[in-house]
């Protein structure tokens, strides 16, 4: 009888573990997994469940009732929107990292990575995260603009009162730009001297990374590019900070979810151990 009770107890024990459910932007898929492992190591009995996707999708799911304790976004917009909707625990919205953008090229192209390389006829397809909803895709377009590879067409975008060329990066209504890059930007600098050139869009930055393995070129997140699955087959150039729309990545605890283990993970990310891991993956850290 006693043994049976023990077996029954053991069966339910995993259910007693303090589970923290985190939804996170895909650029974190390697870095945050490591942070979670370190957290679990430091807090026996705690279990971190990670769900990755594009920040926009995760936000849309959260406001429709997705059960999660924390959101790690690839920008600062979605955590702020959650707070404005009263769906976040007050005072838990913080910056955890500044995202870096890289231009990734297949090693076999034999090109020196950098903006100039994109003009080479061997680069015929460029993978991006979809700028309509993915922060890294939006930043990628501003990076191409900064290096003169994209020029804004003289048109007026829906929902804006100024012509497109007069808009600041922050004013561009990316969520309405569903027509593809070519519909709004002149891509001549990327087209000239090439048999063909086009963009390919990933649902999130991790899919963009996977697509670049096929296209041979992509604008990706540094924390993904440093991972061996991309650093082995490719070479990359890190865009200087300030050369694109800032990726100020924020996180927040969701309303009613401030359990001790959730707050512990919230703290752990901002503590030296968590920061060290994020830094190793190439994130810049707030306050450094």
């Amino acid at each position: 009888m006693g043994r049976r009770l023990l077996a029954l107890l053991l069966l339910f024990l995993p259910g007693l573990a303090q589970k923290v459910r985190v939804v996170a932007a895909s650029d974190l898929q390697y870095a945050l997994a490591e942070v979670a492992r370190a957290f679990e190591g430091a807090n026996p009995g705690a279990k971190v469940e990670l769900i990755f996707g594009s920040s926009g999708k995760l936000y849309a799911q959260l406001i429709q009732g997705l059960e999660a304790d924390l959101l790690f976004s690839a920008d600062s917009l979605y955590p702020r929107l959650l707070e404005e909707k009263g769906l976040a625990e007050p005072g838990t919205r913080r910056l955890y990292a500044l995202g870096r953008l890289v231009l990734w090229l297949d090693r076999r192209l034999g090109l020196k990575p950098g903006p100039e390389a994109l003009k080479d006829p061997r680069v015929t397809q460029l993978a991006l995260a979809n700028p309509v909803h993915a922060p890294y895709g939006r930043a990628a377009l501003t990076l191409l603009e900064r290096y003169g590879l994209l020029r804004r067409k003289d048109l007026r975008l829906p929902g804006t009162d100024k012509p497109f060329p007069a808009l600041s990066w922050a004013e561009i209504p990316f969520e309405r730009l569903t027509g593809g890059v070519e519909a709004y930007w002149d891509t001549t600098p990327l087209q000239t001297g090439k048999p063909r050139f086009g963009f390919v869009y990933g649902e999130n930055i991790a899919q963009a990374a996977q697509l670049s393995l096929t296209t041979g070129a992509g604008i990706l997140a540094l924390p993904l590019a440093v991972h061996e699955s991309l650093s082995r087959p490719g070479v990359y150039w890190v865009a200087p900070w300030g050369s694109h729309l800032a990726l100020e990545q924020g996180y927040v605890v969701l309303k009613g979810r401030a359990r001790p283990e959730v707050l512990a993970f919230h703290r752990f990310v901002a503590a030296p151990e968590g920061r060290a891991i994020l830094k190793r993956y190439g994130f810049l850290l707030p306050g450094e």
């Binding site: 999708k57 909803h133 027509g179 593809g180 086009g198 390919v200 869009y201 649902e203 096929t214």
Partner: protein
Amino acid sequence: MDPLFWDALFLSFRVAALASGILLLGGTPLAWLLAFRRFPGKALLEAVFLLPLVLPPTVLGFYLLLFLGPEGPWARLVGVSWAFRFEGLVFASVLFSLPFALTAYREAFLSLDPNLLEVARTLGVPRHRILARVVLPLVWPGLLSGTLLAFAHILGEFGVVLMVGGSIPGKTQMVSIYLYDLVQALRFEEAARASLVLLGLSLFLLALVRALEGRWRAWRSTTG
């Protein structure tokens, strides 16, 4: 409604129409073979054709991406990578809708009364005339409903298209992906309107399939 929705819908229609046309032309003889001929390895072949029915679309999409990509065997054969291109989408659509079409076609052939064909043959009717005068008039509703089913299925496919399409507006962004992007951009109202159009369309196609099947049954009971 966002004009880009119509672009995406039109693209989906083009892919679906071309792919289901190919299925009709190529799938019919294949279904005939599977219905009436016996040959070694038939069971395995059938299993292979049915595979897309149970395989996760992302698995199929992953294999297709490797197959169609610049390093893949298909690019070596035709000289250009079909990944993230219209041709690749059609190729993928034919493949993942094959089980739907084949099953319907084979069903249509199997329901033919063998006596009818026997009688025609003993009367000395040439084979191509048996096909045109006896077989086709009896099986066409079945063929058409199978093709429509494949068409509707292609309109709605997501996983495979996400993997091999690359979501290029006007080129490879099929309507299912367009909707997904719309939802992610938090444009819920437009997404809801677009979804309603698709709901109506799918319902219409399915009703058409059912009507054809009903007509086919009524027909058989009078002729058979």
